[in-house]
């Protein structure tokens, strides 16, 4: 585990207000989801999951076919598709289009994919104003932070912090009533929507047979982003495809329920191309940017490619005992929680934060709630193995490997095992039934491991002794 990871975790654990905010928000989302999938409201919930998993598997296994079909359909409806291998290609495309069209102001609706490639920073670097319009995203953009949670980006901010932020950044009188804070943001952002030249959105789904971008949201900012400016650019990972519009029947039901417990979110937009002949409003130009940025690397591993089924509902974060303690900003990349723990090492390499796949109790809650049934714990185990292999290649972890080799040898020799057990029992502190909170070992290879753990006292008689005397 890197020092930075360790430090952020301890910072979060030591902040009681933050602990309460995370606990309350994730707890509420867990409860909303639970109510929404109760058998009388959603009797076929498990069948929906199985079906969604099967559709995602099929699409990912034949992704080249569906990408080509999607591109053909977008072009048939007068839109353009741009394949980009990385962040730089995306920003180059947006910058050159903005220059050609003399665009200065960009409005954005919430998109984890553009967070992943730091698009705002790249555009601002070239003097383009890119404004986030989802309320939570707007708050964290003002604060220059990363989203704390996939669906609730400003989950960690209190109304007092938001009040300070609005006063500092917008010069408005300090306002601590949440309704009024929201209306201040609405007023500022409404002007931006009407003045913007380009709207950049993400995509929840890309529909191959329609060439359509599907966006779900509650605020209306994605509808404004994709309807008001004369140019709409959707930026999406190549894994967002599903074959047919009719498949939405399954995915929309799962996404709303898993994310916020809604049967459907307030707005679902199904957008295919620029406005047509007699339509009154809508963008005149429509672009879909399809981003690789490491996804083809994930795709190449037949075991772990299921990581790409993710529909970004955030349920695994809400149910994760680790996320609920260490929060979103402890994670080393934009994707946090269990899904972040499996995506980050695969996108950025296992050396980026070797401690990440180990920061899990493998309790399995994430896999149980995942609407597309990604086997997150199994992938974490594979990644742990990848971390250890990488360390071995780097020549690190020698002592650990030696100890495991000795352990394996001892385990195969019952007599030696018994002797070792007796020896360990005789030197281990006996706590008279109480757990040992502080193991008196503050140096050596086990010191860091023991500093985080309590040990049970040694039993007076070993299992083998008890077995023999029965």
């Amino acid at each position: 585990m890197s020092a930075a990871f360790d430090e952020k975790i301890h910072g979060t654990l030591a902040d009681p207000k933050l602990q309460f905010a995370i606990y309350k928000a994730t707890g509420r989302l867990v409860e909303e989801r639970r109510k929404a999938i109760e058998p009388d409201l959603c009797p076929d919930y498990q069948e929906l999951r199985t079906h969604a998993n099967s559709i995602k598997r099929h699409t990912i296994e034949h992704l080249d076919h569906y990408l080509e079909e999607f591109a053909r359909q977008v072009e048939a409806h007068g839109g353009k598709v741009i394949f980009c291998k990385d962040a730089e290609e995306v920003s180059d495309f947006v910058l050159s289009l903005a220059k050609e069209r003399h665009a200065h102001l960009i409005v954005k609706s919430k998109s984890m994919t553009t967070e992943e490639i730091d698009l705002n920073e790249r555009l601002e670097h070239h003097h383009l104003e890119a404004v986030e319009t989802d309320l939570g995203e707007y708050i964290i953009q003002l604060a220059h932070e990363r989203p704390y949670h996939i669906v609730a980006p400003a989950l960690h901010k209190t109304r007092e912090q938001v009040a300070d932020l609005l006063t500092e950044k917008l010069g408005v009188a300090r306002e601590t009533v949440i309704e009024k804070q929201t209306m201040i943001a609405r007023g500022v952002l409404r002007e931006k929507f009407l003045a913007a030249d380009i709207g950049i959105s993400g995509a929840n789904f890309l529909i191959a047979d329609s060439g359509a971008v599907v966006i779900v949201e509650n605020e209306g900012n994605a509808r404004l982003t994709t309807s008001a400016p004369r140019i709409h650019i959707a930026v999406a990972g190549i894994e967002k495809l599903i074959p047919r519009a009719q498949d939405l029947a399954v995915f929309l039901k799962l996404l709303g329920r898993s994310a916020t417990g809604q049967r459907l979110t307030v707005y679902t937009s199904f957008l295919s191309g620029p406005k047509r002949g007699e339509e009154i409003d809508g963008p005149e130009e429509f672009y879909v940017v399809l981003l690789d940025n490491g996804r083809t690397k994930v795709l190449a591993d037949s075991e772990k490619r299921q990581s790409l089924y993710c529909i970004r509902c955030g349920a695994c974060l809400n149910h994760c005992p680790v996320y609920r303690k260490i929060g979103g900003h402890s994670f080393p990349w934009v994707y946090s929680g269990p899904i972040g723990a499996i995506l980050t090492p695969q996108f950025l390499g296992v050396r980026h934060e070797p401690g990440l796949p180990f920061a899990s109790s493998l309790c399995g809650a994430c896999a149980e709630v995942c609407p597309v049934k990604i086997e997150i714990p199994r992938i974490l185990l594979e990644l742990r193995s990848d971390v250890k292999k990488a360390e071995a290649r780097d020549g690190a972890g020698r002592i650990e490997r030696l100890m495991f080799r000795i352990w394996a040898w001892v385990m195969r020799h019952p007599r030696i095992y018994e002797m070792a057990g007796m020896a360990a029992g005789s030197i281990a502190p006996s706590g008279e039934g109480r757990w040992i909170r502080h193991v008196p070992l503050n140096a050596g290879p086990l010191a860091a491991w023991l500093s985080q753990r309590d040990l049970p006292p040694a039993a007076p008689k070993s299992f083998r002794q008890l077995w023999r005397s029965r």
């Binding site: 080249d64 319009t133 008001a228 809508g282 190449a300």
Partner: protein, 210 residues
């Protein structure tokens, strides 16, 4: 830019070759229950009201027009070019602007009007959802910019739910560049999970079933 190279990487990762055929995916899972119209109307209204929307079941075109007139209460409004609004004479109510076909004019009117009024192509009974297809009759911004939104939907347009919509409309992209499902007023809970309505879209919606 990288089209061929990305597609090539995808194929290599999957061990596929260009143009290699694809087996059929699972058939779509669409379940359309038989629900009598009276039940659909009841469910549709209940769901919208559960989300703090208001509903009204009009017995006639005149009844619908009177209800809308009452909601407007003299406020300015912009109405879409939907035939149902003309048939109910809602388009010609005092203070209602209608018949706009120019995008710039529409945007200007929608930015200042207190209310937006439109028809709806369909209603989804089990979720209380309005389905709006963009066309020369229905603009996108009418249901989006004004703080109050009124939708008028013909009762025979009430479907059981999303599955029925996708059954009768398997390819929405063939008909419109934009199909939007609207389920209740615009809302957010981004600050301390406190629910606030009307953050970007309308915070108040009225749905009239005729």
């Amino acid at each position: 830019m990288s089209r061929e190279s990305v597609l090539h990487k995808v194929r290599t990762a999957l061990g596929r070759s260009a143009g290699q055929p694809v087996e059929e995916p699972l058939p779509p899972r669409l379940v359309v229950p038989a629900v009598p119209m009276e039940h659909r109307i009841r469910s549709f209204r209940e769901r919208i009201e559960a989300l703090a929307g208001k509903t009204y079941e009009a017995m006639s075109a005149i009844d619908a027009c009177e209800y809308v007139s009452g909601v407007l209460a003299g406020r300015t409004a912009v109405a879409s070019n939907s035939p149902i609004l003309r048939d109910c004479r809602i388009s010609s109510l005092a203070g209602v602007q209608s018949g706009i076909t120019d995008a710039a004019e529409l945007r200007a009117v929608c930015s200042t009007a207190a209310c937006g009024i439109s028809g709806a192509d369909f209603g989804l009974a089990d979720t209380g959802t309005l389905v709006m297809l963009s066309s020369r009759e229905e603009a996108r911004l009418i249901s989006l910019l004004p703080p109050v939104y009124i939708a008028v939907v013909a009762r025979e347009r009430l479907l059981t739910g999303l599955d029925e919509l996708l059954t009768i409309l398997p390819h929405p992209a063939e008909q419109t560049s934009s199909m939007v499902l609207i389920t209740g007023p615009s809302r957010t809970a981004d600050i301390e999970q406190i629910l606030v309505r009307g953050v970007h879209g309308p915070g108040e919606i009225h749905v009239v079933v005729v």
